[in-house]
Symmetry: C2
Subunit: 298 residues, 2 copies
Amino acid sequence: MTTADFPEWVRAHQLRVEEALDQLLPAPTLAPSRLHEAMRYAVLGGGKRMRPLLTFAAGELAQAKPERVAAAAAAVELIHAYSLVHDDLPCMDNDVLRRGKATCHIAYDEATALLVGDSLQSLAFQVLADPGLAADPSQQLQMVRTLAMAAGSRGMAGGQAIDLASTGRELSLPEVEFMHVHKTGAMVRAAVLIGAACGAALDPNAVSRLDRYAKFSGLAFQVVDDLLDVQADTATLGKTAGKDAAQNKPTYVSLLGVARARELAHELRAEALEALGPLGAGAQRLRELIDFIVVRTH
Amino acid sequence: MTTADFPEWVRAHQLRVEEALDQLLPAPTLAPSRLHEAMRYAVLGGGKRMRPLLTFAAGELAQAKPERVAAAAAAVELIHAYSLVHDDLPCMDNDVLRRGKATCHIAYDEATALLVGDSLQSLAFQVLADPGLAADPSQQLQMVRTLAMAAGSRGMAGGQAIDLASTGRELSLPEVEFMHVHKTGAMVRAAVLIGAACGAALDPNAVSRLDRYAKFSGLAFQVVDDLLDVQADTATLGKTAGKDAAQNKPTYVSLLGVARARELAHELRAEALEALGPLGAGAQRLRELIDFIVVRTH
């Protein structure tokens, strides 16, 4: 399924979003410099950039101009980065390791980490409202709305609230799925739809196929995350391994066991590919990315 | 300066923004319901609504449709409300009382308060990107950008970082002003400019006058806040009085003394009125609001 140049495509686009983020984040020489330094610490130089890669791949399908997509991908990653900084805080997951280095509140302090997350969220919307990211401004306002809804209480932040409320409780499989559709799924869908919105308008059928692709990809990502939490070590993950079991969190693995969870990841992969069905060569990177999501070691 | 119907105008527009917020906040029956309940707790039923009133008054100057301005005013207030929830957290000001009731993390818990703030920020941008808030979508994208920049690291959140860094340090008057231009000034300016942007395009000279008005009003607001922190009691303020001195924070009062700070508030009031100079009857509510800001007991 994966073409020979896919690893190179991944590297090139990880670099492209890194460059965009580097340019968009305020320089550490600007006041307040400690906050700006901490924002750069939390965002730059790490991460798989899975969401931006999905944005780029969907942008390719819609034949969007690469420079537009880079800014949109950066906006999506800024929201993701803010959520990691806040999730790691002592009142949430209380974690000290992220992307192989100290979490933001450990490297700086809690108050700074709180403001880093808050500021990264604002910056995401500032970037996404920059003129010319879509063919017309109405389309671009829709992109802002898509990102805001995916990030908010009925999306990612809501998923985090459901996650908190479920720690130590027994959840059913549908309840775990409901949590992840919010916690990771909403932003994965936004990453794909925002990438597509940077280009030529797709017909509603294609948009609905992309949305299904994104939904299955997001769930597959989460199932693999749960597997890696059990199976990989902290050094490989770059974050604390075994955390779910330690915190008595319901996961796909705790509910289904390792073997069935692994099967489920492959079923979701197949569903995601099926959703893309007739979208042709333009969807090749999206097809390849599902393997990037399912077959990974960290 | 104040017309007889001004108190009625204030009450009517406080009610209007309350109704808009009530409609825009997700119902507590929607999942995750505890988060939605906490968001409503943090936003509804309190506050002077000073920023929304400025948005309404600037909207009147630009002859904007009232229903447009109500949504824009709500977006501005959602950002303000999120900042209060996060500022009250233990890692920031660690406060237990706000608007006469328990702060969000006391009434709920820290993790919920963190997510409430995060979700209110997302909702602000979702509301401001709703179609039809400005005469054309490009103008509306500019409003989104204005709000994002005012909220972020070079605006309100940055001001909070400067505030944290200055606690217990000696600051000069220009440094205190620099802090407040960010911490409160940026959002006061955004409130005015976003209100004006809901209506007919104003000439650049009028916009620059509004911006000066907003700058002086924001500083006047802060000087009065510092005075009230010293002079009013907790019951009247609805938040903990005497906090600045207890936390050894540099304020206008600690730098200038009560008498000179009071003079300064009146000088800033005069500057704000002067800035509005030739804007005529349309600016009447803006003129009256400066008294609402300077002559207040909480």
